[in-house]
């Protein structure tokens, strides 16, 4: 049985426990043994982008050092995240020793007293990458349960930018569409599927998020989709706040299609109940 190390991050644990439940049920159904990191820190949300930003990598590299030690004990090679921001930050931190050596050295020196510095050896993966790799098994377990349903995939920006950490081609991603097809449903294509929803500006300048979500929602409405799925929980939060779209986390739709109803919250079950007469 393949072991996956699991890094939850702050928001999954505190605000989106239903996403965690559905995702872990899906991974277990695919035959993975998912082991949560014994101890973990907040990833930091945004990795550093400037030359003086090395401090912003400290917590992410600390987590990777710890994860690497635990991965060796467990025989695991992949650390999986459910949150798009955790994925982005950890992935950029895991590439630091391949790129900016000066920055890596400063952070590693700072951490030397705590841990053996992380020097590669772990693969940071987002939940949807694991799903995509096992898309045939997903299709087998889903048994085409969602046939005739039109699903819009909304990617957001964090899983696709910057391109060094993108889970797929950032200009024309297909991963989620392939997963939707594996569920038996029909993916729709619309122009705004990778347009940024406005992110943290919902706190500082909500008009930005409102306007961007309206654009995305109008674009989805024109595509004829009956339901929207997204792999990013901040997109989920923003789109729910400013639109009437029926929107789920991708893991929840996959869990429903794979007949893992006991892992879903009553709200999700209510949202998907309209499908039952169709399928």
């Amino acid at each position: 049985m393949q072991v996956l190390l699991y890094y939850p991050g702050c928001s999954i644990k505190r605000d989106f426990p239903e996403v965690e439940k559905a995702s872990l049920a899906v991974l277990a159904a695919l035959g993975y043994k998912v082991v949560e990191l014994r101890d973990w820190y907040c990833c930091g949300g945004f990795p550093g982008t400037l030359a003086w930003d090395h401090i912003k990598y400290v917590s992410a590299l600390r987590t990777l050092s710890m994860a690497y030690q635990q991965a060796r004990e467990l025989g695991a090679s992949t650390i999986v995240t459910l949150c798009a921001f955790c994925y982005n930050t950890l992935k950029q931190a895991s590439q630091l020793h391949e790129g900016s050596l000066e920055m890596y050295k400063r952070v590693a020196d700072y951490l030397r007293d705590e841990f053996e510095p992380y020097r590669g050896g772990l693969r940071v993966a987002h939940f949807i990458e694991i799903l995509y790799e096992r898309v045939k098994e997903v299709a087998k377990l889903a048994e085409g349960r969602l046939k005739k349903i039109k699903v819009a995939a909304y990617y957001g920006c964090v899983l696709l930018r910057p391109k060094a950490v993108a889970v797929d081609n950032p200009d024309n991603p297909r991963i989620i569409e392939e997963i939707i097809k594996a569920l038996g449903a029909e993916p729709v294509t619309y122009p705004y599927r990778t347009y940024c929803c406005g992110s943290f500006q919902i706190l500082a300048e909500p008009s930005i998020v409102k306007r961007n979500v309206e654009k995305i929602a109008a674009s989805i409405a024109g595509s004829g989709a009956e339901i929207v799925v997204t792999p990013c929980q901040l997109c989920l939060y923003n789109l729910r706040k400013y639109s009437n779209l029926k929107i789920l986390d991708l893991s929840e739709l996959v869990a429903y299609a794979m007949n893992l109803q006991e892992s879903l919250s009553p709200e999700v079950l209510r949202a998907v109940r309209t499908f039952e007469s169709k399928t």
């Binding site: 949300g45 920006c157 391109k163 008009s207 929980q233």
Partner: protein, 129 residues
């Protein structure tokens, strides 16, 4: 708000030091402004900001573009000359914050117990230099 006026030379050197990018390489194709998802909320679109940094002194206390940017990195990926306007904006934003220029403080945020912690983390990162 406080004023912080920097000359084109100071700006250029500052940006080179902190991003490794060269603003004079910009050929004004406008790609960054075309792909920006928040360009409608900026007083100066990204390409115009790069132009301004090349040509004239800028008062960071009076610049809205640095507070609208969400660091989605689309312009950074798309820039054909590797100027990366998103990183130029990030540099100027951190410079402003470190000099006490701050349009909103954390305590003014509409935060309650339903606010996801990821938002608090992201805003803390973006609201501090």
């Amino acid at each position: 708000m406080a004023r912080l006026v920097l000359s084109p030379r100071e700006l250029r050197e500052y940006i080179r030091e902190h991003t490794g990018r060269e603003v004079t390489a910009c050929m004004h194709c406008g790609t960054c402004s075309a792909v920006c998802p928040v360009v409608n909320f900026m007083d100066m679109h990204p390409a115009a900001l790069v132009r301004a940094v090349q040509r004239s002194a800028i008062d960071l206390g009076n610049l809205k573009v640095i507070w609208a940017c969400i660091s989605c990195m689309t312009c950074v990926d798309k820039c054909p000359r590797d100027v990366a306007p998103g990183l130029v904006i990030e540099t100027l934003r951190q410079l402003a914050l470190r000099n006490g220029i701050e349009p909103r403080t954390y305590s003014q945020m509409p935060i309650d117990e339903t606010t996801p912690s990821i938002l608090l983390v992201l805003y803390s990162r973006k609201g501090t230099g």
